[in-house]
Structures are given as structure tokens and as C-alpha cells.
């Protein structure tokens, strides 16, 4: 089982679209896939038409009293399941704090799911917190979608500092990529050229900005489920998925985790 997180300190950069669309592509390819909506706002849960509710709330979940598998909901797509969001996830930090090894709790909760799933996608809330640290430690790949702006570049540097400053996180398989790219904007093009030079792990695929993606909120389904491969954004997600898969296989973490 490989765990892939979609994360950024900033909000509104396409984290949920990334997690939802890649999870869909993974399942479509035949992998048993789970997506865990860790964001109390529950956007991924909404896209899959599932009620944002977890029995017993975060407390039961984090304490281990509730089996993760019992909370899973089947989506409308074969091999793709969802662990829904719950509004109580906003308190997850506090509850994680109460545990013996607060930064490895998520990893522990997910371990038994290895029997049932090949890929697990984590749709993370923005911010940097104990939840994020749990995510970093559990993941085989940390996807960071970012809009090519100066502020985004700053947050990526912040994230890298954070990872390097924490024991055991220095080797996190960081995979930043450009999202919501508008090729008419000079600044976007400029940053897309310069930024990957300072971050060699930058993925080559970028996701263009398109109203088609915004329609996910209306259709309430992953983009490739309603926009065929002839659509350039669907094609971009497909290319992104192939690049990520190859990147996970080649990473140093592959040998030890999973």
C-alpha cells in the first residue's frame, strides 16, 4: 500500500481536485484505492456525494476505538472508496496530542488498511500542524500543488525548512507541481521556468487552469469521469498520475515503507 498526500500550507491551490482526480485515475487503472478526506470542510466528501460524518467523530477514530474500515464508504466508482470528512476533524490536533507518539498516529491507523488497498490518497487541510506532521510521516509521496505565484514559492520554501528541521522528515518524497496554470500570465510562465531550478524534485507535468475543473462542484464527480481524455485538463491529470507512480517507485522510501 502506498500513501500519497495532497498538501499545501495555502488553501485554494487545487489540493482536493488533485486528490480526487488522481484517486479516480488510480481506481480506473485497476488499483484498489482509498481517499481520506482529512479536511473538516469536506470538499472531497462532497464531490463523492457522501455525507460528511464519521461515527464517533475524531475522538473515536484517533483513540483507535473505531475501526477505520468500518467508516469507509464505497463511492459510485469501482475500486474507489472514501473515508469521509467530519467537522470534528478541526480538533484532530488536540486529540493527536493526547497519544503516546502523536506524530505517528495516522501511520498507525492506516497500517491495517494495507490488506484492502493499493493506494491511499490523503486530502489534507491547509496549515502546518500536528496533523500535517502525521501526514508527512505516513506518506510515500507528498504532492504539493501550487499556483505559480511569488507567495506560493515562499510557502514551498517554508515547507522545505519545516521538513529539514524535523527528525526523520528530511527524506520526505516531496513532489511539488504547478496547478491552475494560466499561460497568458507572464508571471506564471516566469516562475514555471525559475522555480524548478531551486527545487529539483518538481514534477514536469502541470495542471492548467480551466473552468472544467470548477465544474466538479456541479457534477459532483471526478473530472475524468465526465470529461474524456480528449480534454486537456483530464490529459494533464493522467500524465501527472503516471509521473507520480514512477516517482514513488524510484524513491528511497519505497524500500522501507509500504
Amino acid at each position: 500500500m502506498k500513501i500519497i498526500a495532497s498538501y499545501n500550507i495555502k488553501g485554494g491551490v487545487g489540493k482536493t481536485a488533485t486528490a480526487v482526480n488522481l484517486a479516480y485515475l488510480s481506481a480506473r487503472e485497476g488499483y484498489r484505492t482509498l481517499i481520506w478526506d482529512l479536511d473538516p470542510q469536506g470538499a472531497a466528501t462532497y464531490y463523492f456525494r457522501v455525507k460528511p460524518k464519521v461515527k464517533g467523530g475524531t475522538k473515536a477514530l484517533v483513540s483507535g476505538h473505531q475501526d477505520l474500515d468500518d467508516l469507509v464508504k464505497g463511492t459510485d466508482f469501482e475500486r474507489l472508496d472514501l473515508l469521509p470528512a467530519d467537522f470534528s476533524y478541526r480538533n484532530m490536533d488536540l486529540l493527536l496530542e493526547d497519544n503516546k507518539r502523536p506524530t505517528k498516529q495516522l501511520q498507525k491507523l492506516l497500517a491495517p488498511m494495507a490488506i484492502a488497498y493499493d493506494y491511499v490518497f490523503l486530502d489534507c487541510p491547509p496549515s502546518i500542524s500536528l496533523v500535517s506532521e502525521n501526514v508527512f510521516r505516513a506518506s510515500h509521496a507528498l504532492l504539493v500543488p501550487m499556483i505559480p505565484t511569488t507567495l506560493s514559492a515562499r510557502t514551498l520554501a517554508q515547507l522545505q525548512d519545516f521538513l529539514e528541521g524535523h527528525d526523520g522528515l528530511g527524506k520526505t518524497n516531496l513532489m511539488p507541481f504547478f496547478s491552475m496554470v494560466d499561460r497568458r500570465k507572464h508571471l506564471h510562465l516566469h516562475l514555471m521556468e525559475s522555480l524548478p531550478q531551486s527545487f529539483p524534485s518538481f514534477l514536469k507535468t502541470s495542471i492548467p487552469y480551466a473552468t472544467e475543473v470548477e465544474r466538479m462542484g456541479i457534477t459532483r464527480m471526478p473530472l475524468p469521469a465526465y470529461a474524456p481524455s480528449s480534454n486537456p485538463v483530464t490529459r494533464a491529470y493522467e500524465a501527472l498520475w503516471q509521473e507520480i507512480k514512477a516517482g514513488i517507485k524510484g524513491s528511497a522510501m519505497w524500500a522501507t515503507a509500504g
Partner: protein
């Protein structure tokens, strides 16, 4: 069937719209485009998967091609994997721990397609207020297609209800509606079995084993015809697979049935006119002869890995030219075999033999055993043959020539076949024990003879390979080591003989033979 995956039978004439309306009264329904599913069922010719309680399906659903191995009457597969190749021998299966179990069941037999079931599937998705799918129903309209026998037709329509994870309560509600309100009952018959029955086929209807239920008081000639007719059926049913060389067991079973036929003809003595016996003994001898060369090559190919394994590691690759040589000559021998099977002589032989066997026995016969009850004839023949085996075996010394061992082996085989023909006339357990005993003895005698024949044949092949310039010095030397090894094993078999025969000839076993087959003793007992 899993708890959250159920199939209901939809009787002919059911109002399908009525089912949909009843569901729609409860919740909204999303309908997917109808799709086509092809299930191709496979098994070996001797039904090894079916007899082990399993079903192997190749499913073609849209662009997906999957192999599923499951238990009969259970939709949840033991093994399911993508299929990127055609099914055939065990070695062709996708690798993995579960396929190893499957491979063990197949042994050396090839998977053959049994028949196809085509399904037109209409999917109804039960939706909640968010238009989320909470359960799936698949209406499956089925047709079987038995291509080999050119038969096809409809089979029962099934309605499959699948749960969506996390929405089990909705599944239970729907199940209740289908069952209690719409009166649909769960499917009890495995799809494969229903399709086979519709195609007029009986699963498990082929076995190379003999399984007669004989009437002890019936005339011996009529009973012998019954035995021979069964053997003729076995020969005939194996001809197409032998012809197409689907796997080596077709030819093997055919040859065993031919040998048994000759044995029944000559060993169930004096039930048919002598000229009939002579004519067909020779005719079936001819089949034994022309089928021999391909069988010899099959044996080499089947044992090839074992041959290699008994050689020191560095020498093993030197044996490969022998495999190539066998393959190179295989086609020629197989062609020759097919020509014989297609010949008028062969066809006429089987036709005339069948006509003879199917003709009623004459009302009265002067042939001495013809009209006696089969039980009496069986006792006589088995008892006589047993005494011959005993006599020949007891006379064997370490200095006895190989020919004596061959003679003993032939007598043992005759005895075994006789007991197997007539086993239903005797207590099951005792007869089984004796056959087992004979198998041990035959195994030893077989090793002694076959290993010597193989060693001779290998020498012959080495010579031919040299003549055809197909063997290097290393290959010839390696074959020499192999010949030495075979002869060593043969020698060991000879040494073990005395002890194995003593086990066969123990007081206990003598008593058992006597009590079962000695007519005088049986009469003394009032049997």
C-alpha cells in the same frame, strides 16, 4: 455467495418493468447503458476443477479480461487476476501463490473451454437524496453457447444485488423488498451447471477410471461386452484430443483403454468365439503399436526436468539438445499417428467392434464360459491368474533373467486389470487393498523394465543425434551419465524386488485372495 452480494432468480414471464417500478417507489434509480459480459468456462477434459468443487471463468467485460477461480455456487473468487494470455497448461497461468494451487489441480492436463455464457446486463443504481449510489442491481439476461456441439439457447435471467460499502442497511432493505414484496427467490443453481444441463452435458462424465456396477448373476458374455463397450467409448472419446494433441493424457488414456481391451479379450477367457478374440486382439495390438512412438516421446518430455535434475548442475544445459531433438522428431511422429487415426482401417475397426459389442448375445452359446454367471468366471480367472503371479514371483531369484521379470510384470498387469474389471462384484475395501498391493509390486517391476527400455532408447537416440550431427561431445557424455543413472535405478529396483514381493505374498494377503476368489473355498463357506 457473500453476505452483501446476492443473486435472485427471475422466472420467465416476470414483469421487469414491475420490478423497476417497485424500486422506484422507494428511491430514485439511475440506469447505466446496457453492457455485454462474456463468461467462458474452462476445465480439463477429466473435469479436475469441477471434481475439486471449483469453477474457472474467463470474463470479458468491456475491455477487461479477467480470470476468476471460485467455488461452485459461490460468486466470490478464490483467485481473480487480469488475463493477458490464453489459458492452457499450468505453466501458462499468471504466476502467484494461488495459481500454484490451481496448477497442482491441473497437473499435466490442458485447460479447455467448456462453453460460453453471454449476458446482457442492465444496471440499476439505487440513489439517495444526494444522488449517491447506495446499492446496485444488475439484471442479467443469459444465453449459453456450446460452440463445440453447436448448441445455444437462453438460460435463466438473474437479478444480482450488490451492496455499496458503508450502505449495508440500504442493501438489506432492498433485499427485503425483492424477496418479500416481489417474491423473488435466491438463485440455488450454479450458472455453469445450469448452462451445461441446458446444453445436454453432464459435468464429470469423463474419467479414465473404471467404475462398473456389475450384476453377479448376469451372463459372462453379456457382461464382458458391457466392459468392452465402456472401454471402446473411452478410446473413441480420446481420439479427437489425441489427434489435435491437446495434452499428452488423451493419448495415454486411449492407450490404457486399448491395453485393457486386449486384456479383457484374452483374459476373460472363453466368452466369445475364438476367431473374434484372435481378430480383435491383433487389431488392438496394431493400435498399441502405432500409438507407441508418440507416447515414448511424451514420456521423455514429461520426465525431462526430472532427468536434468538428477544430473550435476553444470551438466544440465548439455542435455538441452536432446529436448530439441525430441521436439524436432515429435511433429513427424504425431503426423504419422494422425494418419493412422484418420485411416479407413482404424475407422472400420472401431465401427465393426462397436457393432459386435452392441449386438445382443446369442440366446445360447457353445463357448464354454459364455453363459455362465459372470461371478463364477471372474472367480476362476482371478484365482488362476493370482496363482500364476504367485508361482512366477516365488520362482524369482537374484540370478533370474530379465525376461522372467517381464513375464511376471505382464501377469501382474493381467491380474490387476481382471480385479479392476470385476471389482464391483467383491467387497470394496478388500479389493481396494489388493489393488493397492498390486500397484506397489507393479511399480517395482515397471521401474525395472521401463528404466532399461529408456536407457536403451537413449542410447539409440544418442546414435541418431550423432548421425544427424545434433549432439556435441558434451551432450553425448551427459546422455551417457543419464543412461548410467537410469541403469543404477533399475539395478536398485531389482534389489528391492524380493522384499516387495514378500510383502505381496504374506500369509495375510494369501488368505485374502483365497477368501475372495477361490471358488472352492467360497462354496465351502456356502457362498
Amino acid at each position: 455467495m457473500n453476505e452483501f452480494d446476492q443473486a435472485y432468480l427471475v422466472p420467465d414471464g416476470t414483469d421487469l418493468q414491475g420490478i423497476k417500478d417497485a424500486l422506484e417507489a422507494r428511491c430514485r434509480i439511475g440506469e447505466d447503458e446496457p453492457r455485454h459480459l462474456l463468461r467462458r468456462f474452462h476445465d480439463t477434459f477429466d473435469w479436475s476443477l469441477y471434481l475439486a468443487g471449483g469453477v474457472l471463468e474467463e470474463r470479458i467485460d468491456g475491455h477487461q479480461r479477467v480470470m476468476m477461480w471460485r467455488d461452485l455456487n459461490d460468486e466470490v473468487p478464490v483467485l481473480a487476476c487480469e488475463l493477458d494470455r490464453d489459458l492452457g497448461f499450468a505453466a501458462d497461468l499468471p504466476p502467484g501463490p494461488d495459481t500454484e494451487r490451481l496448477a497442482r489441480l491441473l497437473g499435466i492436463r490442458r485447460l479447455l473451454p467448456l462453453l460460453d455464457v453471454h449476458s446482457r446486463i442492465l444496471t440499476w443504481r439505487l440513489l439517495n437524496e444526494d444522488d449517491k449510489t447506495i446499492a446496485r442491481l444488475e439484471l442479467e439476461q443469459n444465453r449459453y453457447d456450446d460452440k463445440a456441439r453447436e448448441r445455444q439457447g437462453p438460460i435463466s435471467t438473474r437479478l444480482r444485488l450488490h451492496a455499496v460499502k458503508g450502505y449495508e442497511a440500504d442493501f438489506r432493505d432492498t433485499a427485503r423488498l425483492l424477496n418479500e414484496e416481489l417474491g423473488l427467490s435466491l438463485v440455488r443453481t450454479e450458472l455453469l451447471l445450469e448452462a451445461l444441463a441446458s446444453a445436454g452435458r453432464k459435468p464429470g462424465d469423463y474419467s479414465s477410471q473404471l467404475n462398473f456396477r456389475l450384476d453377479p448373476d448376469r451372463r459372462a458374455d453379456a457382461t464382458t461386452k458391457e466392459i468392452l463397450l465402456h472401454l471402446l467409448n473411452t478410446i473413441e472419446v480420446n481420439v479427437p484430443g489425441t489427434r489435435d494433441n491437446l495434452d499428452s493424457e488423451f493419448l495415454h488414456d486411449l492407450r490404457v483403454a486399448v491395453r485393457r481391451t486386449r486384456s479383457a479379450l484374452t483374459q476373460i477367457k472363453d466368452v466369445f468365439a475364438p476367431d473374434v478374440v484372435e481378430q480383435y486382439k491383433d487389431a488392438f495390438g496394431w493400435i498399441g503399436e502405432f500409438t507407441g512412438p508418440v507416447r515414448d516421446l511424451d514420456v521423455y518430455l514429461l520426465d525431462f526436468n526430472a532427468y536434468q535434475a538428477c544430473l550435476p548442475e553444470p551438466l544440465r544445459p548439455h542435455l538441452e539438445p536432446l529436448r530439441d531433438f525430441i521436439h524436432a522428431h515429435y511433429g513427424e511422429e504425431q503426423k504419422n499417428l494422425v494418419e493412422h487415426l484418420d485411416s479407413k482401417r482404424f475407422r472400420d475397426l472401431l465401427r465393426d467392434w462397436r457393432a459386435f459389442l452392441e449386438a445382443p448375445v446369442p440366446e445360447s452359446s457353445v463357448v464354454p464360459n459364455a453363459m455362465r454367471p459372470v461371478m463364477a468366471v471372474a472367480n476362476d480367472r482371478i484365482w488362476t491368474m493370482y496363482r500364476r503371479v504367485r508361482k512366477e514371483g516365488r520362482a524369482m531369484t537374484p540370478a533370474s533373467p530379465a525376461e522372467d521379470m517381464h513375464e511376471l510384470r505382464k501377469s501382474c498387469k493381467k491380474l490387476r486389470y481382471l480385479i479392476e474389471f470385476f471389482d464391483s462384484l467383491y467387497p470394496k475395501q478388500e479389493v481396494r487393498q489388493l489393488v493397492k498391493l498390486l500397484k506397489v509390486l507393479l511399480d517395482n517391476l515397471g521401474k525395472f523394465q521401463d528404466l532399461a527400455v529408456q536407457a536403451d532408447h537413449l542410447r539409440e537416440m544418442a546414435q541418431r543425434m550423432r548421425d544427424e550431427d545434433r549432439a556435441s561431445t558434451d551432450t553425448l557424455l551427459t546422455m551417457g551419465i543419464l543412461v548410467g543413472d537410469l541403469l543404477e535405478h533399475q539395478h536398485r529396483a531389482r534389489e528391492e524386488f524380493a522384499e516387495i514381493f514378500a510383502g505381496f505374498d504374506s500369509d495375510e494377503h494369501q488368505g485374502l485372495f483365497k477368501s475372495l476368489f477361490d471358488a472352492q473355498k467360497r462354496q465351502g463357506k456356502g457362498a
